[in-house]
């Protein structure tokens, strides 16, 4: 019988920005079994959402997760809007799209930096974060916050992007895109990166279906599932197609995300070009949500689902959040089994881009 080591991978580990613990049972350096230990950041937000009134909830829901906070607010607001039967003004729809794509951009940049760092590629990590800073600046200039946008509101958005600021934003994003042009070939073609990620943690199309993978994990396995094709916000008016790769390995997931970064730049430019004039928010006075609904949006990490039940009062009866990482944990465990310890960081963290505060809420 070979010696088995149990490595407590996390909850504090340089590669994890968030506290997930994986109990890795190793034989030499090969992972035999991985067991996730959750609950380090469980805050009972779903219960808290029942205590606050539904407008205050927007601010609460946004703080469910740092990286994709805007997506949570967007999803929640869309749910409430459908319950009170409110049609958001056109300009608000386009502004929401721009912010959603900015959130995707900065999330994917973060992920790319962490990937580089996990591969021991310190200089690439620094380059990616330098680029991300440009995106963060754009976000701060347009919303007033760097991580928590606080810009989504039931009935529209909280602040408008004036046209001159929009122009400036596009110019800055062009600069960021140019810098990304320098880095993308490195991550896509660099020998060491490619050698370490190709043929790693393969999830076939069939397995991805069975394990319920969502987002880039599913798309890298050949499933063209992208909630943006539902046409929420302004996505119905913009031209794009889900990015799909067939290989299903770690490298394919990198390719999907890098391509999505370019896609986001493109979507923002499209939205800015077609930006309609008009109001950016509608008043919601004396309108109360009633009934139940399920809303879905595409987060940087995949499908986000909200189930909201209201009873015609200010307080909601039930808010259920299913975040993409929650759905991607079973595929992660599948990938980890049989992986080398050296690849756990690269495979585990980076290919599913875990967000633990989302999972535990």
């Amino acid at each position: 019988m070979r010696q088995r080591t149990v490595i407590p991978f996390g909850p504090q580990h340089p590669v994890f920005p968030e506290p997930l613990q994986l109990k890795l049972h190793l034989e030499e350096e090969r992972v035999i079994e991985a067991i996730p230990v959750l609950g380090y950041v469980h805050r009972g937000l779903e219960k808290l959402a029942e205590q606050k009134d539904f407008v205050q909830n927007v601010f609460l829901i946004e703080r469910l997760c740092g990286i994709c906070s805007f997506m949570h607010a967007l999803c929640y607001c869309q749910g409430i809007e459908s319950l009170i039967g409110l049609q958001v003004p056109d300009r608000a729809r386009f502004l929401r799209t721009i912010w959603a794509e900015l959130a995707r951009l900065h999330s994917h940049h973060l992920w790319l930096g962490l990937l580089a760092d996990a591969l021991g590629f310190e200089s690439l990590f620094m380059q990616v974060f330098r680029n991300r800073e440009i995106i963060m600046d754009v976000i701060e200039a347009t919303t007033g916050g760097r991580m928590i946008f606080c810009s989504c509101l039931i009935g529209g958005v909280r602040r408008d992007i004036p046209n001159d600021l929009l122009k400036e934003t596009i110019a800055r994003l062009d600069q960021a895109e140019k810098l990304l042009d320098q880095i993308a070939p490195v991550i896509l073609a660099e020998y060491t990166v490619k050698e370490r990620t190709a043929n790693l943690g393969i999830v076939t199309k069939e397995q991805a279906r069975k394990l319920g993978a969502v987002g880039p994990v599913a798309r890298a396995s050949g499933i063209a599932m992208d909630m943006r094709t539902l046409g929420y916000a302004a996505y119905g008016d913009l031209d794009f197609a889900p990015i799909v790769e067939e290989a299903g390995d770690c490298y394919a997931r990198i390719v999907v995300r890098v391509k999505e970064m370019y896609q986001s730049f493109d979507l923002i430019k499209q939205a800015a070009k077609r930006m309609p004039k008009g109001e950016h928010a509608l008043p919601i006075k004396r309108l109360l949500p009633d009934g139940e609904t399920v809303v879905r949006v595409e987060q940087p990490r995949g499908e986000l689902m909200y189930y909201i039940r209201a009873n015609g009062s200010k307080k909601l009866e039930r808010v259920r959040v299913r975040t993409p990482t929650y759905a991607n944990i079973p595929p992660l465990l599948h990938m980890l089994t049989g992986a080398q310890l050296a690849n756990v960081a690269a495979v585990a963290v980076l290919s599913i881009d875990p967000c633990i505060s989302c999972v535990e809420r």
Binding site: V6, G120, S123, T192, V193, E195
Partner: protein
């Protein structure tokens, strides 16, 4: 007391002081240059000294008392190998002593319960196995050229070693990349930043003054290998200096343009590439 003793003592003291200062400054330059390559401002050049002073002032926390012994052994043998190299002793013995330093580090990693340190120690052994044969072959090559195993014989040789041993020099670049813990060869631990897979590898469970000892030991190890490379143009120290500077910058550049690789790849590169090059060169000298 004979005069030889006094001159040796003087050289030893000068080496220890010089090695400490030079090692710290080189590490500082390393960090500054790395930062500039990454478009950052970077720390001041004397930051490594600040770091060591700060570590020295911390509370001494040890997982077990043996750690201190191993850390000190590592420092002692790193210093000793550098001193003996400067004194011009037998190269094989010097290599042996520097290997002692590495072994002390491995034992230090093994002496704690942390699985990270243990796995890193295993990898460090692989690193030693990858780098040492190249170094031995290099010394055999030096012997074949100068007819002597002592370091003192090299500067007296009429031609620079590089002329006779170009491939050995290239092989040594790989070995030194491993020894300096630079990407893509930083599998067991990394010189400046927390390692991702294994947290900080061998260094994981070292803290405070004990970690400071390891840091300083690494400075001496670095200087030792640079001086060893300098032997390749030994008669003229100016050209040797130029050679060392360019080697140093090359290592930094490679560190910044590549990701870390796995240990199996490291073995392949060191044995097939490094030893292959060195062996071809040595065989060519035989013929």
């Amino acid at each position: 007391m004979n005069p030889l003793f006094w001159s040796w003592s003087a050289v030893t003291i000068a080496t220890v002081l010089g090695g400490f200062l030079l090692g710290g400054f080189l590490t500082g330059i390393d960090r500054k240059l790395t930062a500039r390559m990454q478009n950052r401002v970077g720390p001041p050049i004397v930051q490594p000294f600040f770091d060591v002073i700060k570590l020295w002032g911390k509370e001494r926390v040890m997982v077990n008392p043996m750690q201190l012994l191993y850390a000190n052994t590592y420092l002692f043998f790193s210093v000793a190998s550098l001193v003996l190299l400067i004194l011009g002793w037998d190269l094989l013995m010097i290599l042996f002593i520097s290997a002692f330093a590495s072994v002390a580090l491995v034992l230090g990693g093994y002496s704690v319960e942390s699985p990270y340190a243990r796995i890193a120690s295993q990898r460090e052994i692989i690193q030693i196995a990858a780098a040492e044969p190249v170094l031995v072959l290099a010394m055999v090559g030096m012997f074949l050229v100068t007819g002597d195993f002592t370091a003192a014989a090299i500067p007296e040789h009429p031609r620079p070693l590089l002329v006779d041993l170009p491939l050995v020099f290239v092989a040594l670049l790989i070995a030194i990349g491993i020894k300096l813990r630079k990407s893509p060869f930083d599998v067991s631990t990394s010189a400046h930043h927390a390692h991702q897979e294994l947290v900080r590898g061998i260094y994981t469970e070292f803290a405070g003054p004990t970690l400071a000892v390891l840091e300083v030991g690494h400075w001496f190890e670095m200087i030792f290998f640079l001086v060893f490379l300098g032997l390749f143009w030994a008669p003229d120290w100016r050209i040797a200096g130029l050679l060392l500077t360019s080697t140093f910058i090359l290592e930094l550049l490679v560190d910044n343009i590549s990701a870390r690789y796995t240990w199996s790849w490291l073995l392949k590169v060191a044995w097939v590439g490094g030893m292959g090059l060195a062996a071809v060169n040595v065989a060519w000298l035989y013929l």
